[in-house]
């Protein structure tokens, strides 16, 4: 019996157990090896992570179940409009590298509320920042735990709730034991798993369809069967079925602009991303690791639109006007999960997949585009299983990063800095671990009992971050005269504006129904409103500042000091 025989003889299910089991053993091994011994280990991994390790960890932390599982699917249904996510979730790193990371590293504390609290010399500012950090992180993490549950249930055939509980224990284990140090090194491993799992099927399919193994070039190439350029073909297929031309999209220009900006600025303002840059040794390492993180993220993000095009074309060609009984096995399999639904409205036995909702007979959940893609393209079993391991790596790494922000906000920003400053180092470490346990339990609860609005709210976590942190941090670094009155007023107005707009236009709680698009302010959707709320924050901050007194001399000195890159490692020791 040869090895290649063995490899083909093992089924998808067993491959999934093998690959998921191996990767989990790896994460737990790393967690035991990199236990945290001090609060500095727990919050910022001891402050000595190399730029490459930090870049990989940041990339894994950043790319969640949404990036791995949902994004390519969303793009494949949205066409050009999908660019808001691609540019929005990568362009923010440029802002991060040029405007935030180096200065926050030089400042050299543990958390984002630390910076806000010290720079604005005020307990109120710190507490407002803690509130914003918790709001942003909790909305985000609930979605991640749900993602963990979905991957478990689809691939390991346990129910979603069991999946969530297994995921909770794994995250609990390495986040509580290792803190930032533990999660940094597990995230390095998770990056490797998830990028491999994303790239392998993409390369296979690109080669199959276009003969070009590089997906980024493949989707701009001619098809191997001689029917011309792939994108021209997809545009043709889309318009023939009544959809918009794939490369054109349907959102208004102002909305695309606003959403992209809100996502970019929100990315730069997310506490679990910012805190990453506290973990490297020097200011120059902070800049470099932002570049490495983006490079590693862009590898997946430039592949996703190619996957979207391959999957969309394959799907239309497989199902459109084909007899239902001839559908391949994967179609039936996903049908039983309810993620593909077929209703033969005109009783002709064929599948009519068209834009017009009255005649359309097929509903496809966008999440399955990535998950089912390897099956649609008839790739080997191990590749299908690999996608499951990759999806779990993406969801777990992001969940762990967020839980750490939550636990640090409670143990450091609230207990140590506000409630009980006399707490010992040991006591604070214990408090950090206990708050991590608490956070996992709350996140798990929301994973099992998702409030109906979680999915809607996750995308808006970016708007909240854009409306609150980004202006306060930028002004704190680049505008010496900015004072606490201005910053606090700006954050409060920004986050309230975002919350109210979201409640009115996304959740519809004010009017019993969700108001129509035509009522949006300036034609900007709730997803894009973070841009407006951010501008509002800037205006309010600067106006209030003009009428109140300048910050004290020593705070102005802090600002001058963070602008100079040398001596960063000393700052953290003084803490």
């Amino acid at each position: 019996m040869t090895i290649s025989y063995l490899i083909t003889a093992i089924g998808v299910q067993d491959w999934t157990y093998i690959l998921v089991g191996l990767t989990f053993a790896l994460y737990i091994g790393i967690a035991i090896w990199s236990r945290a011994n001090s609060t500095k280990d727990f919050y910022v991994a001891g402050g000595g992570v190399s730029p490459w390790a930090n870049g990989m960890a940041t990339a894994a932390d950043w790319m969640s179940a949404a990036s791995f599982i949902s994004m390519a699917g969303i793009i494949s249904f949205a066409g050009y409009d999908g660019a808001v996510y691609l540019m929005g979730w990568t362009g923010g790193y440029v802002l991060l590298a040029l405007l935030l990371a180096p200065y926050l590293r030089k400042f050299g504390k543990f958390t984002v509320p630390d910076f806000i609290g010290d720079r604005y010399y005020s307990k109120t500012a710190r507490i407002v920042a803690v509130f914003c950090a918790l709001l942003v992180s909790f909305t985000y993490v609930a979605g991640q735990m749900r993602g963990v549950g979905i991957v478990f249930s689809r691939f390991l055939e346990v129910d979603i709730n069991t999946g969530v509980i297994i995921g909770m224990f794994i995250v609990l284990f390495y986040a509580v034991l290792g803190g930032m140090k533990g999660i940094t090194y597990t995230q390095v491993a998770q990056y490797c798993v998830l990028i491999f799992a994303f790239m392998v099927p993409a390369i296979f399919i690109s080669f199959q369809m276009t003969g070009n193994p590089i997906p980024q070039f493949g989707f701009g190439s001619e098809l191997i069967d001689g029917s011309g350029y792939l994108l021209d073909k997809l545009d043709g297929l889309s318009t023939a079925l009544g959809f918009n031309e794939y490369t054109e999209g349907s959102k208004s220009t102002i909305d695309v602009f606003a959403i992209t900006l809100a996502l970019m600025v929100g990315t730069a303002g997310l506490p679990h991303v910012i805190v990453r840059f506290f973990t490297v040794k020097r200011v120059r390492d902070a800049r470099k690791s932002a570049g490495i993180a983006l490079l590693l993220i862009v590898l997946l993000y430039t592949t996703a639109p190619a996957v979207a095009v391959f999957a969309r074309t394959n799907m239309i060609e497989t199902v459109s006007n084909k007899p239902y009984e001839n559908m391949p096995e994967w179609f039936k399999k996903w049908e039983t999960t309810g993620l593909i639904r077929f209703e033969d409205k005109n009783d002709d036995g064929n599948i009519q997949y068209v834009a017009d909702e009255i005649n359309n007979e097929l509903t496809v959940d966008r999440d399955i585009m990535v998950l089912a893609n390897p099956e649609i393209a008839r790739l080997p079993n191990w590749v299908i299983a690999l996608v499951a391991a990759g999806g779990l790596a993406a969801a777990l790494s992001t969940a762990a990063g967020l839980l750490l922000v939550i636990s640090a906000s409670v143990s450091h920003d609230l207990i140590k800095k506000v409630i009980k400053p006399s707490i010992s180092e040991k006591g604070e470490l214990m408090a950090a671990r206990l708050s991590a346990v608490g956070a996992v339990v709350v996140a798990g609860y929301y994973g099992i009992h998702p409030p109906g609005f979680v999915a809607a709210v996750v995308a808006l976590a970016f708007g909240l971050a854009a409306a609150s942190f980004f202006p306060a941090i930028i002004l704190g670094i680049f505008y010496k005269r900015m004072n606490k009155e201005g910053a606090v007023a700006g954050m409060v107005v920004g986050i309230l504006a975002m919350l109210l707009y979201m409640i009115k236009y996304k959740l519809g709680w004010f009017d019993d129904t969700i108001p129509d698009k035509s009522e949006w302010w300036f034609g900007i959707s709730p997803e894009g409103f973070g841009t407006v709320a951010m501008v509002l924050n800037f205006i309010v901050s600067i106006t209030i500042m003009k009428f109140t007194k300048a910050p004290p001399e020593e705070v102005q000195e802090i600002v001058e000091n963070i602008r100079i890159p040398s001596g960063a490692s000393n700052v953290i020791k003084q803490h």
Binding site: A83, Q216, L231, T260, L261, R287, A290, G291
Partner: protein, 85 residues
């Protein structure tokens, strides 16, 4: 040069770099990928319409390059002012 003047001069050069790089950041994403997408879409490179390509590929490549250019520029600047210890 006094310590304070040196810090001021360093900061001024830094701001100039940042503004320059952010201008490019804005042009490739909001310019080529969004505002001028339709005009650029009339140009085709291989199977890609150019505006579409900038929105879903090109802008992201440029973002990565911008950060590494910034890293290089700033490392040089740090050295020039003796802030590279």
């Amino acid at each position: 040069m006094t310590k304070k003047n040196k810090a001021k001069a360093y900061w001024k050069e830094n701001i100039r770099y940042v503004l320059m790089l952010l201008a490019i950041w804005f042009l490739v994403s909001y310019g080529a990928g969004i505002l001028f997408k339709d005009e650029l879409n009339t140009i085709k490179v291989a199977g890609f319409k150019l505006g579409f390509w900038f929105a879903q590929q090109g802008s992201m490549y440029v973002f990565v390059i911008l950060i590494f250019v910034y890293v290089r520029l700033m490392n040089k600047l740090d050295k020039k002012y003796g802030y590279d210890n």
